[in-house]
């Protein structure tokens, strides 16, 4: 079975540009979450979607937005990129929200803003 897949794996953008990151959850998983991991830090929660509805948003500016599609895949969009947006962006999926599921993570997208 395919795990959580993210694309692209690496990306270099210029300040002020826009970026779209993509995530395909494990088949049958209805929840997708996005995390930002700055070098040397633990991941920080950005968004969670479940059944195509936003369930929560972390402490990130409105430049960050996301959506979940009918097939449960998801996109994370970041507008007006800043140097500080350089990070590893991780996607995680789970079948439901309840229970002790620990979420399955993808390998991430490394975004560099220059």
């Amino acid at each position: 079975d395919a795990g959580v897949t993210q694309s692209p794996t690496h990306l270099i953008k210029t300040r002020g540009q826009h970026v779209t990151l993509r995530c395909s959850p494990i088949s049958g998983h209805k929840s997708v979450s996005w995390y930002q991991q700055v070098l040397g830090q633990g991941p920080q929660f950005i968004f969670q979607y479940y059944e195509k509805e936003e369930r929560g948003r972390g402490n990130f500016p409105d430049r960050f937005s996301a959506r979940q599609f009918p097939n449960y895949s998801s996109e994370l969009n970041v507008n007006a990129l800043l140097l500080g947006d350089s990070a590893l962006y991780l996607c995680a999926s789970s079948p439901i929200l309840e229970g002790n599921y620990g979420y399955t993570f993808g390998s991430g997208t490394r975004l560099t803003v220059v």
């Binding site: 979450s33 929560g56 002790n100 991430g108």
Partner: protein, 118 residues
């Protein structure tokens, strides 16, 4: 808001020996879940072990076990018979159960880098 603290930025252990990684957390909730994740240089976060707060019995997964002290809000990870492949960043994480209309997010600590030496 929940917080997770890992006070050991780096730890080192010899192959075949035992090492314990520390984690404390702060929450006002009584029902929650705790996790340890491993992140090797490949970047993928891999679930190592999980613990439900309502269970008094400490979780065990092969060479990995936890010491869960709910009153002290402590959740340490013990790795027995350490192997070279255990070298990685280890993150402690907290998750509260979903409440109506809210996210069930993971809150991570800052991580502990584990080195395994011959």
């Amino acid at each position: 808001a929940q917080t997770v603290t890992q006070s050991q930025p780096e730890m080192s252990v010899q192959e075949a020996e035992t090492v314990t990684l520390s984690c404390t957390y702060d929450t006002s909730e009584s029902d929650y879940y705790l996790f340890w994740y491993k992140q090797p240089p490949s970047r993928q976060m891999i679930l190592v072990i999980r613990q439900e707060a309502y269970k008094q019995q400490n979780a065990t997964e092969n060479r990995f076990s936890v010491n869960f002290q709910k009153a002290a809000k402590s959740f340490s990870l013990k790795i027995s018979d350490s192997q070279l492949g255990d070298a990685a960043m280890y993150f402690c994480a907290y998750r509260s159960p979903p409440h109506t209309g809210t996210a069930s997010k993971l809150t991570f600590g800052t991580g502990t880098r584990l080195q395994v030496t011959l």
